[in-house]
């Protein structure tokens, strides 16, 4: 019995000594706060904050004297927790979602030519500025879908990108990836949008798209505050988003849509496209 205890004890002691020595020799400093912040962050490494990955962001927060950038996917809740850890004042962030400003799928918008090649919008855009006659419309080849780190984008059968308002965290990766700049960041609370991205004149738009904005000005006449027509394209003035829904029914080409109606039809996101109120998303 004694031999057992003594010998095992001796082995343990030796090992402990060796380890203790090694621990001194190979010590590595890590700020525990950095790890704590890394835990909280969404971990998508999306880069929306402007730093290389979530660990880069955590490093910045710990090493800086203030929070120099926000984490849009994390939202208010994550920012609050980070502020707690660091002892800073919480940083306000306005939740945003990305919206595809186009409804011109393969059925509704005309082709310029038959495209052969890599099924990718950026690649197709390099071939004579993309196969659609509309210079700003969604090409439907899914570059944004593949880019989205949160699986919030889906291509419809007819080749149109739709974004789930629930899954979208507002990181802005798709905005960067889209070669036609058809995806815009909008305030989460604004549910009405002019879903068109063509700056061509109305006559031209009518020729190639069934559902594009023809700049008829009816919306601005209806709700002067909430709409603006510039360069042959109407847009919602998001400061007055709550007035915007009034013009939805008046739009002759149906390119103004309100997402509370359950837009877009036919996608698996249709049921979750109802707007989510501020604060609920963080949960």
């Amino acid at each position: 019995m004694f031999a057992a205890i003594a010998s095992l004890g001796a082995i343990g002691l030796l090992a402990a000594l060796a380890l203790g020595f090694a621990a001194k020799k190979f010590a590595v400093e890590v700020d525990p706060r950095e790890l704590a912040i890394l835990e909280i962050l969404p971990g998508a490494n999306c880069g929306a904050c402007g730093y290389p990955g979530c660990s880069g962001y955590a490093k910045m927060v710990v090493n800086g004297d203030k929070i120099a950038a926000t984490c849009p996917p994390g939202g208010a809740m994550v920012m609050g927790k980070i502020a707690n850890i660091m002892g800073f004042a919480p940083v306000e962030i306005d939740p945003q979602v990305a919206v595809v400003m186009c409804q011109g799928d393969n059925q509704k918008s005309k082709e310029k030519y038959h495209y052969l090649g890599l099924a990718d919008c950026q690649a197709a855009q390099k071939v004579a500025d993309g196969p659609k006659q509309c210079p700003g419309g969604c090409l439907g080849l899914g570059t944004c879908e593949r880019t989205c780190p949160f699986g919030a984008i889906e291509m419809t059968e007819e080749g149109l990108a739709v974004i789930s308002r629930k899954k979208c965290t507002g990181c802005g990766k798709c905005v960067e990836a889209c070669p036609r700049d058809v995806i815009h960041m909008t305030p989460l609370d604004a549910t009405t949008h002019v879903l068109c991205n063509s700056h061509d004149r109305g006559v031209l738009v009518r020729k190639y798209c069934d559902i594009g904005c023809i700049a008829c000005q009816i919306c601005t006449k209806q709700v002067p505050d909430a709409y603006r027509v510039e360069d042959s394209l109407a847009t919602v003035v998001y400061e007055y988003y709550d007035e915007a829904p009034e013009a939805v029914d008046k739009c002759p080409t149906k390119c103004i849509r309100d997402f509370t109606e359950g837009y877009p039809e036919g996608s698996s996101f249709a049921d979750i496209s109802v707007p989510v109120k501020r604060g609920r998303r963080a949960a």
């Binding site: 031999a3 057992a4 010998s7 095992l8 082995i11 343990g12 090992a15 402990a16 060796a18 380890l19 090694a22 621990a23 020799k25 190979f26 010590a27 590595v28």
Partner: protein, 193 residues
Amino acid sequence: MAELLLILVSAIFVNNFVLSRFLGICPFLGVSKKVETALGMGMAVTFVMTVATVVTWFIQYFVLIPFGIEYLQTIAFILVIASLVQLVEMVIQKTSPVLYQSLGIFLPLITTNCAVLGLAVLNIQKEYSFLEGIVFALGAAIGFTLAMILFAGLRERIDLCPVPKSFRGTAIALVTAGLLSLAFMGFAGLVKG
């Protein structure tokens, strides 16, 4: 000499720890996503295996047997292995933070890696001499590393494949591991032992 060579070949190919004895499956599946990481893991395991064999051999023959406490073999060996793993962990964290990050939890888990303990125990069971033991450990470690990097190479390739949804991830990895093990069965009977 020929005897040692046979032990080595046997441990690498015929009775490959991972693919024939099915020991050490945890890191085999866990850190075989990239060849570099797999190689790093292989190195770490090689070190632990070799040193553990040396130390446990001494403990077995100079402590446990003389004091008649062979029944404490498992505990004693795990103690040794655990300390070694701790040591390796510290060294890797200091020298290669990238490798440290990619090995993650699997590094401390070498402690409970049955390949290491299995090796130490087998070594005693087979009543290998000190030199034979070291060769056996080396063979086992090389075999482990070989299996790791072969498998990692395959997985890197599978990562580019449109695997059906139901088979993605661990499922396809296990199927592949099975097929790899199948291929290794060709060595059966190559060396008796």
